[in-house]
């Protein structure tokens, strides 16, 4: 059933129904009308909007799809062209991360599996029909049960109705449903909460309520749980309770750099710090709940000097932390990531949990009632179990859905061999992953933008997944597949559609009216029973009794395998945009690298791009070096998606896999590897991109006493569009960059071009190292200068200054002298060196409101002028001026911390003018007299914090 009738059935005035009318086709020769006429209230030029859920990572952000009507290869259809967060959504409140922004590249990926396939006699895949595939599966299942073998359903994280359906399916078909496989299973956290509270869950951290946040290793704004939400809530807390946020980590992460204070801690010594905090706080009895003696005596108790020596934190820093905890009304500690995925990880997590209980966080900032939905996610232990049963040839049919163990497990070859011990391997997947390669039947999955469904990221939230486009290939949703298999087994003439199944479920759960509301909103918040987190004395005691506290003695080099903000655990690597956008910390785009401490590099005389051979686990891997400031000596970092999985110790108690490879040796090979490092230099040298460091009046606003000028400034009539960027809010997540790429049809130029310095980003994050201690960012985009140096040099008026203060570029007037780019002090103009057109079918995602530039044309940020144009058009209809907040640019829209404010500088009451005239504001390279329209608010110095 197509979505329109479906929605009709739901009685929704289909503001989101498939629209149809006449538009402009690419070929521009034919005009293709619809066969069936359009809905009356919908017409071209107005895109359709759908609410759905992002499935790029387990966070499940609420997503609003902008679908534009286009004729593609003589077929009129609507195509999703932009993804944005749903404003007010409990998870992401309007924002989306870079991966979410880019997931259209997955929807239109040319390498998607396009039709069901089955392995034939001589082991090659051949296209098959669904019926045939199902039949085979049913036969094999029966046969396997006959042989007394167990069939298993092994999938990635599954929530909401799908989870229930999977259970039904497994019951129906006598299949065991295994704990789900996630690389970031947070097993130690779950285990710790199990020990301390008898709740094997990951609580929902209510950062927005905190006034002091201590993140221990948890990269909360990159990959930990829900980065977008965390970033968003950190900002809320900053505004609400003037939050101060400290970060402790053994390595260095973007999160650490963004925290108001960052402490580098010795390897595996987090546990001592937490123990120290517990003990000291209880001694100065500033704990809200005092720990039972039987527990507290089991907690290591050392003098501050010992702790300082163990952790490498100075005593005053330790005291600072203590006082922070003591004085905070609603503190919050989040342990995770690099600090829990290690030998002391479980202990660290347990102490964190104890601290959360003792300081009363569990009553406000640590929320178990809305626990993150990780219950059904297993750990490495479960994988081991699976491997055993495979070893013992107990498995008949093995379903592998939406997960790729062969890629993510260190023992890949072994696992592949073991998989062969099954009768039949069925893969449900959208890509030909290395796991799928090893299967017999491949059932192609629809992208979540082509399918119905729902998701429950955490208790109390139900997200809707609804299609924005019909399946482009012969693919089906997992729900449909399971239902159809069941139906075919029971010999039913036709299977129930998964969307019907959903409706029934929803109706039974929420009733009809509520269901409609949920579909329109895109999510539903449901009340959950409130159970306070109660300390389990016995469990904790038992654990602490035989807890071992490793002390990291060896000073041998250690490799940390960190998550990647761009690729998560590696799954988002297929999105070309994720390689095109620089890694925020290193500004590297394509290819792999190893991050080396600047101190180590100095000692060894290594420079960026020097190749080193890393000896680990008996193999030797080669990486080019990237010198990383703030990284402690002897610690090396490689992102998970850039190195094939390493065998690291697995905690037998929790099944958490350590992220550390110890006793590695690193030696230069003497080669140099060309590596696209986008940043020409990380040193700003007070050039005026960061706020000037003046002694008195630190951030005095320059506008009041302007630089001398020859001519009077030209006048603007109603609007002067401007922007204010708060670098104190900005957390460097690069979501804005991704949003800009998608909104403005920016080109993906590839590695070769990047090596030649030919990236096309209109907006970029620039990291600046200050005296090797801090890394500050600025966000560079066209400054829309009032006295723009680029304008007067254009011989053909291709670029000029609009009355609304925009520094515009008329693409089809440009002859390509590149003079404007030369003359731009901010170097934000981009030249089309070739015809960088996206290959089919990626070109489906082009935004029809923005032209696709061809070779030889200079292009640049226009403050999303197409959005301005629409707003003005609307305003004109209602014959008024554009209101403040009516327009926002793509970058500002997706910012999780609302660091970017766009608006009209002529309107003295607009938010942007207020910020622009605040005495914190400064402008980049102001002394050049370019009169930029972009105003920056600098990062607050941590000394103000302390």
């Amino acid at each position: 059933m197509d979505r329109r009738n479906f929605l009709k059935l739901l009685g929704i005035s289909s503001g989101t129904a498939l629209i149809s009318s006449c538009g402009v086709d690419k070929a521009n020769e034919k005009i293709i009308p619809y066969v069936i006429p359009p809905e009356e209230d919908i017409f071209v030029g107005n895109p359709a909007y759908f609410t759905t859920t992002c499935t790029e990572c387990p966070a499940n952000c609420g997503m609003q799809v902008t679908a534009n009507e286009k004729v593609y290869h003589d077929v009129r259809n609507i195509f999703p062209t932009k993804l944005e967060g749903i404003a007010g959504h409990p998870v992401n409140d309007g924002a989306l991360c870079m991966r979410g922004q880019a997931s259209l590249f997955r929807l239109y990926h040319p390498d998607r599996i396009k039709r069901p396939m089955m392995r034939d006699g001589d082991g090659n895949f051949r296209v098959t029909t669904w019926k045939e595939a199902y039949a085979k599966i049913i036969v094999e299942l029966a046969a396997a049960t006959g042989e007394g073998k167990r069939n298993m359903y092994f999938s990635g994280r599954t929530t909401g109705t799908m989870s229930g359906l999977t259970d039904d399916f497994c019951k129906e078909m006598s299949v065991e449903r295994l704990p789900e496989f996630e690389v970031f299973s947070h097993a130690n956290l779950k285990k710790a909460n199990d020990i301390v509270f008898n709740r094997p869950e990951i609580p929902h951290y209510r950062i927005e309520n905190a006034d002091f946040l201590l993140t221990v290793g948890a990269d909360v704004v990159e990959t930990f749980m829900n980065p977008v939400a965390s970033a968003n809530h950190i900002q809320k807390a900053k505004d609400k309770n003037n939050l101060s946020w400290y970060h402790i980590e053994p390595a260095v992460s973007l999160t650490g750099v963004q925290a108001s204070k960052r402490f580098a801690i010795k390897l595996h010594s987090e546990v001592y710090l937490l123990a120290f905090l517990l003990q000291s706080l209880s001694q100065q009895n500033s704990l809200k709940k005092s720990l039972p003696a039987r527990i507290s005596r089991l907690i290591p108790d050392y003098s501050i000097t010992v702790i300082a020596e163990r952790t490498g934190l100075s005593e005053e820093n330790l005291r600072l932390l203590l006082s922070r905890f003591a004085n905070a009304k609603t503190p919050l500690i989040i342990a995770g990531g690099v600090s829990t995925a290690q030998e002391n990880g479980l202990e660290t997590a347990v102490f964190a949990a104890l601290l959360q209980w003792a300081t009363g966080m569990t009553d406000n900032t640590v929320d178990f009632d809305h626990a993150e939905n990780y219950g059904s996610v297993g750990s490495m232990l479960d994988v081991r179990k699976l491997e055993d049963s495979l070893k013992n040839k107990q498995v008949g049919v093995l379903f592998i859905s939406r997960t790729d163990p062969v890629t993510y497990l260190p023992e890949a070859e072994q696992f592949v061999e073991l998989m062969k011990n099954t009768r039949l391997r069925v893969a449900l997947s959208d890509f030909m992953t290395s796991t799928v390669q090893e299967c017999d039947i491949v059932l192609p999955l629809s992208h979540s933008l082509e399918a119905w469904g729902d998701a429950a990221p955490r208790k109390g939230i139900r997200n809707v997944i609804q299609p924005a486009i019909e399946p482009q290939y012969d693919t089906r949703s997992e729900g449909d597949i399971l239902l159809q298999i069941m139906a075919q087994k029971s010999g039913a003439a036709s299977a129930q559609f998964y969307n019907d199944y959903l409706i029934d479920k929803w109706h039974s759960l929420y009733g009809e009216g509520e269901t409609v509301g949920m579909l329109e909103r895109g999510y539903r918040e449901e009340p959950v029973p409130s159970l306070p987190a109660i300390l389990s004395g016995d469990g904790t005691e038992a654990f602490l009794k035989n807890a071992g506290f490793v002390v990291e003695s060896s000073d041998k080099p250690v490799l940390v395998i960190t998550p990647s903000i761009r690729a998560y655990d590696g799954r988002s690597k297929v999105l070309p945009l994720m390689s095109e956008i620089p890694d925020p910390l290193t500004t590297i785009t394509y290819g792999e690298w190893i991050s080396v401490s600047d101190k180590t590099a100095k000692k060894m005389g290594w420079k960026d791009r020097d190749e080193v051979a890393v000896e680990l686990n008996g193999v030797s891997l080669k990486f080019p070096v990237k010198v990383q400031h703030l990284l402690p000596e002897n610690i090396y970092m490689v992102q998970r998606d850039l190195i094939y999985p390493q065998a690291t110790p697995v905690d037998s108690r929790s099944g958490e896999e350590s992220w550390y490879v110890k006793d590695i040796s690193v030696n230069a090979t003497g080669n140099h590897i060309p590596m696209p490092i986008m940043s020409g230099s990380m040193h700003e040298d007070n050039r005026g991109l960061l706020p000037p460091e003046e002694e008195e009046h630190p951030y005095e606003h320059k506008e009041e006493h302007p630089v001398g000028r020859m001519y009077a400034p030209h006048e603007h009539d109603n609007y002067r569009w401007g922007m204010a960027i708060d670098m104190d809010s900005c957390i460097g997540c690069s979501a804005c960059v991704a949003a800009c790429y998608v909104e403005n049809n920016l080109a993906i130029t590839g590695k070769k071009a990047h090596l030649n310095g030919r990236e096309m980003s209109w907006i970029r994050l620039e990291p600046w190292v200050k005296d090797d201690e801090t890394i500050n960012y600025d966000l560079m985009l066209c400054q829309q200068c009032d006295d723009a140096p680029c304008e007067p040099v254009c011989p053909v008026y291709a670029t000029y200054h609009s009355k609304e203060g925009l520094n515009t570029q008329v693409y089809n007037r440009c002859v390509g002298t590149r003079y404007c780019s030369n003359n731009c002090p901010y170097k934000v103009r981009r030249f089309n060196w070739f015809d960088f057109r996206l290959p089919e079918p990626w070109d489906k995602m082009y935004n029809p409101e923005v032209s696709v530039r061809t070779r030889g044309i200079m292009e640049k940020c226009t403050f999303c002028i197409q959005r301005i144009r629409h707003a003005k058009d609307k305003a004109k209809d209602e014959n008024r001026l554009v209101q403040d907040g009516e327009i926002t640019t793509a970058c500002a829209q997706t910012c999780p911390t609302n660091a970017i404010t766009f608006g009209n500088l002529m309107d003295k009451n607009s938010r942007v003018s207020k910020l622009a005239h605040s005495n914190r504001a400064y402008r980049a390279l102001e002394e050049l007299g370019t009169e930029p329209a972009v105003h920056y608010l600098p990062k607050k110095e941590s000394k103000e914090e302390a």
Binding site: T587, M678, S679, G680, S681, M682, H683, E684, D685, N686, R687, L689, A753, N756, G757, R758, E759, R764, E766, M780, P789, P792, V793, C794, P795, V796, Y797, R813, C814, V815, G816, T817, R818, Y819, S821, N822, N823, P825, Y826, K827, R829, R830, F831, N832, W833, F834, D835, R855, G856, I857, M858, L925, L928
Partner: protein, 434 residues
């Protein structure tokens, strides 16, 4: 010797050059033509593929092409200098060089004029750079130094051509007298039916003076405009007031170098030793030395401005130019433009043709590098360190550059075979005075 015989002899000597070319001439011509054609096809390739086939990138939007442009315009200048300015100053040694110098000017400007088109991202719209009435009702932006270039260069080409041709008319009339058959017809046409009558000489002399008077400020303005392409920007290393005089001097310097490079072999091949004497060369060598000193002075002043001015970006830039990624080129340039020419203070060296020839080659290289260094280093590292990047010419760029040399020398080779390489009339006049 009676002057009439002397003149007959003179004519024979000069026109000997127009006699049947030797095989070596053909070899040279073919080589140049091949280079030229290669250059053209590479350009076509670039148009079809996009500017990406060059080594240019972000931030370095200009490189070899603009360097070539400035270089060739520079070459052109000394042509005008020698013929026009020296004419106004009644410098006698001029007539040994002026014809080939003027020819050089014309060909160099033709070559130079191509490069602004070559460097365009969308060459096929080059005509948008000219103000012509169009249905769009759009004109060009007269505030843009590139438009100034369009006017300066096209004016320069026209005037130089007229100047050159005017000087040629009486000489073509002489060739006409010697030529036979088809060639005679052609020469008759181009001599416009010159008779040498009183009336003709009367207006001719005036015209020549006026053209010379126009050409002189023109030269200055043209290269000033070229320099303003850079000086009008805000890029450290470009944005400086001394650029105009500095570039003009540089242009004359490089051009003089090129004149020597061209005339030395020409003189040898066509046995013009008794017409182009060592004294002539000494004079031109002095010009070379003089301009070299001016250029060197500018180099020093540049650094002075940057460091004494205590301007952060300028200082950073000039340190980079001196010790940065391109320092080798900079040092070669200094050697060729500033150090080597100093040796010309020595009279002996000044009067050694071979030595002069070598120096002139170094000057050519040095001056090309000067423009390259100025353009590339300034762009490679300007205000925003994040956007810093390096540039190196691609095969296509090098090919097109060689092609431009091919084109220039091809034209010159053709010229020496079809037109008198010395201004016969003027030498006669000169002789009559003595």
């Amino acid at each position: 010797m009676k002057s009439i015989e002397y003149n007959e002899q003179l004519e024979r000597d000069v026109l000997a050059a127009l006699s049947k070319p030797s095989p070596w001439y053909w070899v040279a011509l073919v080589v140049c033509a091949l280079l030229f054609v290669t250059g053209l096809s590479l350009w076509l390739y670039q148009i079809l593929k996009g500017m990406g086939v060059s080594g240019l990138n972000n931030p370095v939007g200009w490189g070899t092409y603009i360097t070539d442009f400035v270089f060739w315009v520079g070459i052109a200048h000394s042509g005008t200098l020698i013929s026009a300015i020296l004419f106004l100053f009644r410098a006698k040694f001029r007539n040994a060089f002026n014809r080939s110098a003027e020819a050089m000017t014309v060909f160099a400007v033709m070559t130079a004029g191509l490069f602004p088109l070559i460097h365009l991202g969308r060459t096929w719209f080059f005509y948008w750079l000219f103000p012509y009435p169009n249905q769009r009702g759009l004109w060009v932006n007269f505030k843009s130094p590139l438009v100034w270039d369009v006017f300066a260069v096209s004016t320069y080409f026209t005037i130089s051509l007229i100047f050159w041709y005017t000087g040629l008319v009486p000489d073509i009339a002489i060739v006409r007298r010697y030529a036979t058959g088809f060639r005679k017809k052609i020469y008759s046409i181009f001599s416009l039916g010159w008779t040498g009558s009183l009336r003709q000489w009367w207006h001719y002399n005036r015209l020549y003076v006026f053209l010379a008077a126009f050409a002189t400020p023109l030269v200055i303005s043209v290269h000033s405009v070229v320099s303003w392409d850079f000086a009008m920007s805000i890029i450290p290393g470009w944005h400086t007031t001394i650029f105009a005089p500095y570039f003009v001097a540089g242009a004359i310097f490089s051009g003089t170098g090129m004149v020597i490079t061209l005339v030395v072999p020409m003189r040898k091949i066509f046995r013009l030793e008794k017409l182009i004497t060592i004294n002539h060369f000494e004079k031109i060598a002095q010009t070379l030395l003089f301009t070299s000193l001016i250029v060197t002075y500018s180099y020093i002043v540049e650094f002075g401005l940057a460091f004494y001015g205590h301007h952060q970006f300028e200082a950073a830039h000039f340190t980079y130019r001196l010790l940065g990624d391109y320092q080798v080129l900079y040092w070669i340039m200094l050697f060729g433009n500033s150090l080597l020419p100093l040796t010309l203070f020595v009279r002996k060296l000044r009067r050694s043709i071979v030595y002069l020839f070598i120096v002139s080659i170094f000057v050519n290289i040095g001056m090309w590098l000067e423009r390259f260094v100025i353009i590339v280093t300034s762009l490679a590292k300007d205000f925003d360190p994040y956007a810093w990047g390096l540039y190196k010419p691609s095969v296509v760029e090098i090919g097109i550059t060689l092609g431009s040399f091919g084109m220039f020398f091809m034209f010159f080779l053709i010229f020496v075979k079809v037109l008198p390489v010395l201004s016969v009339t003027e030498i006669k006049e000169e002789a009559a005075h003595e």
